[in-house]
């Protein structure tokens, strides 16, 4: 109950914040580009919507762009903006004088970032759906997508990307929570994304958690070691970064 109250409090804080706007804009960014591209090419539009693989095509198009750059950058910025709510408003000292245990405080804020990630995924998928449906509503000659919506593959695919996002989120949250200057976590995150683009097809690229989202589309590439269990690495990094973050947080000597 205490955690729920704290979560509610954190949820109000993010209302109208840059982090919440970024989640919405970031989620619709790629679907909007794909939709615009489709609308500007009306000749193939009807044909595509009539295809039995329309949803798979849209899913692949959207996720390919999203996973390589927009998703990691979105996570980096959101994690920074969430903690900056306290730093920028000089509010840590007020938060730390409320009757909550440090564990509850840590978990509530972390749950907010996780919930925002879920929100981002939901909105992004809504964007993909709209990319398929909206042309049929706008143009009379374009049919609604012929293929039944593939719920299960969508869910499975999203779950994988969600899992790959967790180590990035936990590391960025760690950096953002402990470094007041927001340029540092953003700079580190940006450098990691660039490094991941280079390292993605490297033999030991799996050591860098920022490569996991991009790897999803390179699984058939012979440079990727099929024996490396990315799910396990991803979960391991997530647990490691979150535990380290928590230990650093509760052992702080000064709290604002």
């Amino acid at each position: 109950m205490v955690l729920f109250n704290s979560f509610q409090s954190e949820w109000i804080k993010k209302k109208n914040s840059s982090a919440s706007w970024l989640t919405i804009i970031g989620a619709f960014f790629i679907p909007l580009i794909i939709l615009t591209k489709r609308i500007l090419d009306p000749q193939t539009l009807a044909e595509q919507n009539a295809s039995a693989k329309i949803w798979h095509m849209l899913y692949n198009q959207c996720w390919q762009y999203m996973s390589v750059f927009v998703l990691p950058m979105g996570i980096i910025l959101t994690a920074s903006l969430i903690t900056q709510l306290e730093f920028r408003n000089n509010a840590w000292k007020q938060v730390h004088t409320t009757p909550q245990s440090f564990t509850v405080l840590f978990l509530a804020k972390f749950c907010i970032t996780l919930t925002m990630l879920v929100q981002f995924f939901l909105l992004f998928n809504l964007g993909i759906v709209l990319t398929g449906i909206l042309p049929a509503l706008i143009f009379p000659n374009v049919p609604f997508p012929k293929q039944d919506f593939p719920f299960q593959p969508f869910l499975a695919g999203n779950a994988k990307f969600f899992l790959y996002s967790l180590p990035i989120l936990s590391l960025q949250y760690l950096l953002s929570l402990h470094i007041r200057n927001f340029m540092v976590p953003i700079g580190v995150g940006f450098a990691m994304v660039i490094a991941s683009l280079i390292a993605v097809s490297w033999k030991y690229g799996y050591l860098l958690p920022y490569t996991y989202c991009s790897k999803q589309f390179l699984l058939n590439d012979n440079r990727i070691d099929p024996d490396v269990n990315i799910y396990a690495w991803s979960t391991g990094y997530f647990v490691l970064f979150t535990t380290l973050n928590f230990l650093l947080y509760i052992s702080r000597k000064s709290r604002g």
Partner: protein
């Protein structure tokens, strides 16, 4: 009352907050707080005074658990803070340094953030907004508030959960005279009508003199005075500061300068602090005997500012800087 009770010879005093041998230092530097023994009576408005860098804010942060305690004890509501942190903080409202609030939210939303944590009735939000005069701010974002409104919002957050103890660090900082009067009157009202004990630090001594009932004066991390304001003023009121308007001030300084703490103000005036009535007469006699004509003697009782300055004067007779 549940709080710790201390006895004096004549009265039974309940302390809402006590520190015992509280010390703190940052890194390998000099201690910022040294063996501090504070006793804050329940129901008092306790002024915590000291020059810049005296250790006031560090002490307040220690009391709220914002800095990890290194040595000594902090007991609030008769409970050690480190073992009853959450329970204790539930009864404390605080505003340290500058007010903390979320600039992208309205005053109401800011209070809602804390209402969720304290689980106090939602109606309390409107009550405190009304109390601090922010009930008409509507959906205006707090970042667009004036300095006085921001300060009042900080106090509203501190008051939201009906605390028994308010800890305020420089709550009138940056306010215009009217704003200061409003805050002062509000704090006195809260203290008298609702019985809230208030610990307040400020560098505005004139303001503090009109507000506080008890005073703790800290210098270089050490407590140099603690007691009621009345006692401090009446004790210091037994001495005077006297100014002589005379000719030959240089000669007068030779005669009385070595005996008293005399200061030459200009070519026609010397001033001596901490004199009794008899001493004023003695100084005057010495000047007359030395053939120095005296045209005027003016005396004044000390106000809190001069008492304070006297107390924090170090051994070399120089004063610590007194401004924030």
């Amino acid at each position: 009352m549940r709080y710790i009770c201390g006895f004096t010879k004549r009265s039974f005093i309940v302390y809402i907050l006590e520190t015992k041998a509280l010390s703190h230092q940052f890194g390998a530097g000099e201690p910022v707080v040294r063996n501090l023994d504070l006793k804050i009576p329940q129901g008092s408005i306790y002024g915590f005074l000291g020059p810049n860098g005296a250790g006031k804010t560090t002490t307040l942060r220690l009391m709220l658990g914002l800095i990890k305690k290194q040595s000594g004890q902090i007991e609030i509501f008769a409970r050690p803070l480190e073992h009853h942190r959450e329970q204790t903080l539930r009864q404390i409202g605080s505003m340290i340094d500058s007010p903390s609030f979320y600039g992208h939210l309205s005053a109401y939303e800011n209070l809602l953030v804390f209402q969720k944590i304290f689980q106090c009735p939602k109606s309390r939000i409107s009550e405190v907004l009304h109390l601090v005069g922010l009930s008409r701010t509507g959906s205006k974002k707090a970042s667009r508030f004036s300095l006085g409104m921001k300060q009042r919002l900080g106090i509203a957050i501190a008051l939201l959960h009906n605390p028994s103890l308010l800890i305020l660090d420089e709550p009138t900082n940056g306010l215009d005279p009217n704003g200061m009067i409003e805050i002062r009157e509000m704090l006195i009202r809260l203290n008298r009508q609702q019985g809230i004990s208030i610990l307040i630090s400020s560098h505005l001594l004139g303001e503090m003199q009109k507000l506080v009932t008890h005073v703790g004066i800290i210098n270089a991390g050490k407590l140099v005075y603690e007691g009621t304001l009345d006692k401090l003023v009446s004790k210091s009121g037994q001495s005077f500061q006297a100014t002589w308007e005379i000719d030959h001030t240089a000669r007068a300084m030779e005669i009385v300068g070595h005996k008293y703490n005399a200061v030459k103000l200009d070519d026609q005036k010397i001033v001596i602090a901490d004199l009794t009535r008899d001493q004023i007469g003695a100084v005057n006699r010495e000047l007359i005997v030395a053939g120095i004509p005296v045209y005027e003697i003016t005396t004044s009782h000390k106000d809190l500012e001069s008492i304070f300055m006297n107390l924090i004067t170090n051994n070399n007779g120089t004063l610590q800087q007194f401004s924030k």
